[in-house]
Symmetry: C2
């Protein structure tokens, strides 16, 4: 099989999973539409077995829904679903922050978090934030959230947060890029960074309730971003997962 130069270092299953996820998030499949395995075989270039594996994993991931009679379809999400998913993530991250505060962390544990904080501070120093700076922010923000989650030292919680953040519109950086065209952008990033600073301070001082509350509020910034982006209808193409949102307008 030399029809194309495939990277044999990754398994066919992973390849199918990535290809199908991209296809779904890019809107190649409409919500509610049944995904035919044969059609998926054609799209991905792998055989049915890894395709089936990928479909099962994407269902667990939340992007697909099992059809009772068999097979899978693309899941549809309402705006409420997305806001709930964000609130859910905030609740879980709040629990992680509380665990970290209550159980205590060492100065060494906080080091990478504080480096992240400083790097974001550096980014926000430029007054008109460039698009490149937004991309850097997304990466740093994702790193900060991952480190904070690990600070809980709770494997079950880390696992659950990862699963809750798997949905792209529920992830900590899901709607940051949507801000890049908004005038409120800089203010929102400054507020978010203040949340970051506060949660670290609360954890250092072992203030569990404060750490939990601020992380909950922090997540709600993503909800504000979503509503702003939907209302202004600006740069919606920057939000890949928006193809899955079923609004009254699209029906």
């Amino acid at each position: 099989m030399a029809e194309r130069e495939v990277d044999r270092s990754v398994s066919q299953t992973v390849k199918a999973q990535l290809a199908l996820r991209d296809l779904i998030l890019s809107g190649g499949l409409r919500p509610g539409e049944r995904i035919s395995e044969l059609q998926a075989v054609e799209s991905t270039g792998v055989s049915r077995t890894p395709v089936r594996m990928a479909l099962v994993r994407l269902e667990e991931e939340g992007l697909l829904e099992a059809i009772p009679s068999g097979g899978f379809m693309v899941k549809a999400f309402s705006e409420r679903d997305i806001l709930d998913s964000i609130e859910l993530r905030g609740t879980l991250e709040g629990l992680a922050a509380r665990f970290a505060a209550e159980r205590g962390v060492t100065a060494r544990d906080l080091e990478p978090l504080k480096e992240c904080l400083a790097a974001i501070d550096e980014l926000l120093r430029q007054v008109p934030i460039s698009v490149d700076a937004f991309s850097s922010y997304v990466a740093l923000n994702a790193r900060f959230h991952a480190l904070l989650t690990e600070l809980s030292r709770s494997a079950p919680l880390i696992r659950q947060i990862d699963r809750a953040s798997a949905l792209p519109f529920a992830s900590p950086s899901g709607f940051v890029m949507a801000q890049s065209a908004l005038p409120e952008a800089q203010q929102i990033l400054i507020i978010a960074q203040d949340h970051h600073r506060i949660v670290i301070d609360a954890i250092e001082n072992r203030e569990g309730a404060r750490a939990e509350a601020v992380m909950r509020e922090h997540a709600r910034l993503a909800g504000r971003n979503l509503r702003l982006a939907l209302r202004n209808r600006t740069h919606l193409e920057l939000l890949p997962a928006l193809a899955l949102i079923t609004t009254a307008a699209t029906i």
Copy 2:
């Protein structure tokens, strides 16, 4: 293939999943032990394809862990892992209760919940609680928690709670049976039922914070049950999932 009368109404995948889950929870496989697919084929009587499907689903369920070089092994849990899983479920159920309170529910929505409440009241009226009554309680308790979760009317949250409760030791009724031999049994059930009553009252009065707090505390009863059962080492055989707990003693 007439070697045994198999129920063809359920899929082979489901059959394999149930059989393997029972095998794991009953301690047939030791934590950390690699699950051979061929061995699983022998145990379940189905072919490799549905076995592989079942293994993937059990991994997503949290009972198995993927081995980097391929295949799966039985996951090991510490006592801390289990307590964290319970706290996690309590946090999610608390969020569900808060959603229900804040968004409001109709009297019709609460009807089945109150019937559940009354049925449990009836059960607790007998002074020495029989083992049968404990079994009935487990069923009613599971129903109450499921109904309460649905009261949130949030599909993403319901989904996440189901996933968090999939681990048997994290489920609302995971450690109830362990109480059946304890003298504190009746008191704990009375306290639990009081929590049930309070959360309904809070939801009716749209007291979101109260509903959330009481559900969090309610989940912690399961943690108390676990610690009691582990300390007394009594009727541990009633707790199927205990085979997965890696304590200092078992190493």
